[in-house]
């Protein structure tokens, strides 16, 4: 089992959700995040003073999947999130030992879906 963490542009969420759905991946969790990456930030100005914003708003997705689903998930995320421009984001794949469904207590591959 793997836990897939993806950072994407906030406005790409709907596209990513669509392409995940197409790949039959329906479960995920999302948090707000600020990201610092190759995209160098932008400049706001506030009352005449320049503000260098180098922490950009990103969405962080967490998807727990069985091993067989790793590749399709990565592919689907890339498909939904890629624009080809800097700032598109990253995907991190982490090993996961166990997964438990709180409602039933069941574990493992069944619990994930």
């Amino acid at each position: 089992m793997k836990l897939i963490i993806a950072y994407i542009q906030p406005d790409k969420l709907n596209d990513v959700k669509q392409s995940l759905y197409k790949a039959s991946i329906f479960k995920m969790s999302i948090t707000n995040a600020l990201g610092c990456g190759q995209q160098m930030g932008y400049h706001e100005s506030y009352r005449g003073v320049d503000v260098e914003v180098n922490l950009l708003k990103k969405l962080r997705m967490e998807i727990a999947v069985n091993d067989a689903y790793v590749e399709p998930t990565i592919k689907a995320i890339i498909e939904g999130a890629r624009t080809g421009e800097i700032g598109d984001g990253k995907i991190f794949i982490m090993p996961m030992d166990r997964c438990v469904r709180i409602r039933t207590g069941e574990e493992g591959n069944d619990a994930i879906g």
Partner: protein
């Protein structure tokens, strides 16, 4: 209290006549009493009209709060700026040419140049108070448009629009119905006996039909309709802010309607009662209608219901009976819910705050409805013939404001452009147009 035809005009004429007569008998004692009375009454009228103007001015933040509350956090600075600048630009344009076009000496279709950018205030003691009162009315018409065009309009284009509405569009149609209020000119609509005491048509419909033209020309916000044309909800980010806005507007309307007497008299109280009853009735019926149609009592619709009732009673607030006011408001509350749905789901025009339904549909409703709820109709009054007159006014306003709006917004569209770029709309106009952020530090989901 019923002012048969021509609305407020007569009041001023009476004052003028009194002034005349008091001059004629300047030697007698009675006339001295008359002139003291008139002097005092004039001061009182000034006081009242000024206070009412300030209340109407205060509707500006009301509109800003309603619009911002019903839209997304990422556009909130832009909305504040539009509401601030349309009034600022409008005030200057009003002084430069608007007031002259609306009230200056001229024909029945357009006022003349006699009061363009004037600094002369000697004519009548009420003049400058009258000027500021009419100025905040023009500002109201201007700001109505902002809501319907929210979240996707280029800021520069919006500024340009502001110049035109307060400088040209509003004053000209305003002249038709209210030109004689200043006493030097008369419009063709008021000549026909068109009744619109405080501006259901003159102010609200004018703004609303321009708003409709703007919303059509712009097209819907990204994501408002799914590829198969289904309407999707774009949630407002701050409902308490919208509610505060509605309460501020309700408060300001006590200047808008009773203030349109421009005279301290017992009519103030009566108009305040009709205004309040219609607003309350609108809130109640919109609540019930949304409850029936959507299964739960909807906050946004109830707020719109208040405004619907207020807009509808504006035309006849002085002359309808109390049960009439209640009915006019109640039907407006139903109409606004159905109209918002119709415009959104059937016409597929994206009006984020429901401005067209509130100010346009209910403005028309109120202007026509007054015919049937007269409190003390004059001898020989015929509801049907009055209805014909009212229909003329309503139709003329639609042609003028919607037609003018379509031309204006299309000219802007094909010259400097009316809509922001796709990227800017998605990231939010605050960053794109202003480089600002509305709620720095707050964590907000920006995925819509």
């Amino acid at each position: 209290m019923f002012i048969p035809r021509g609305g407020k005009k007569l009041l001023l004429t009476t004052v003028a006549l009194t002034a005349l007569s008091s001059m004629a008998f300047a030697e007698g004692e009675v006339s001295e009493l008359e002139s003291v009375k008139e002097e005092l009454q004039t001061n009182m009228n000034i006081l009242w009209t000024a206070m009412a103007a300030f209340l109407v001015f205060f509707m500006q933040p009301g509109f800003a709060m309603v619009e911002a509350g019903f839209t997304r956090a990422k556009n909130v600075c832009n909305i504040m700026m539009k509401n601030l600048m349309d009034f600022s630009i409008g005030s200057v344009m009003w002084w430069l040419i608007g007031f002259g076009l609306m009230f200056g000496a001229g024909g029945t279709f357009i006022g003349g140049g006699s009061h363009i950018a004037t600094s002369d205030y000697s004519a009548s003691p009420l003049n400058w108070t009258f000027f500021i009162f009419q100025c905040v009315f023009a500002g109201t018409a201007a700001t109505i448009v902002s809501g319907a065009m929210a979240e996707r309009t280029k800021f520069t284009s919006y500024l340009l629009y502001s110049v035109v509405i307060c400088g040209v569009i509003y004053p000209i149609s305003g002249h038709w119905a209210w030109g004689s209020l200043f006493g030097v000119s008369e419009g063709w609509l008021e000549g026909k006996g068109f009744l619109d005491f405080a501006g259901s048509t003159v102010v609200h419909s004018c703004g609303a039909w321009l708003a409709l033209a703007g919303a059509i020309t712009l097209g819907p916000r990204i994501g408002k309709y799914s590829p198969d044309g289904k309407s999707k909800a774009i949630l407002g980010h701050n409902i308490p802010m919208a509610t505060l806005g509605v309460f501020i507007l309700w408060f300001g309307w006590f200047g808008f309607n009773p203030g349109s007497t421009t005279e301290a008299s017992s009519a103030i109280g009566y108009i305040a009662v009709t205004t309040n009853l219609a607003a309350a009735a609108g809130a109640i019926t919109a609540l019930l209608t949304s409850w029936i149609r959507f299964g739960k009592p909807d906050t946004g619709m109830s707020l719109n219901g208040v405004l619907a009732g207020l807009v509808a009673i504006t035309a006849g607030c002085d002359c309808v009976s109390l049960p009439g006011a209640l009915i006019i408001g109640a039907i407006a509350g139903i109409l606004v819910v159905l109209s918002v749905e119709f415009i959104d789901k059937v016409l597929k025009i994206d009006d984020p705050v429901g401005a067209v339904s509130v100010h346009g549909v209910c403005g028309v409703w109120g202007t026509l409805a007054l015919c049937f709820f007269m409190n003390e109709p004059a001898e020989g009054y015929s509801a049907m013939s009055q209805l014909a007159t009212q229909l003329t006014g309503v139709g003329a306003m639609f042609l003028w404001a919607f037609g003018g709006g379509m031309i204006l917004f299309n000219v802007i569209k094909y010259t400097i452009g009316l809509r922001t770029s796709r990227e800017e709309e998605i990231k939010g106009l605050d960053l794109g147009e202003h480089g600002n952020e509305g709620y720095a530090g707050f964590q907000i989901f920006l995925n819509q």
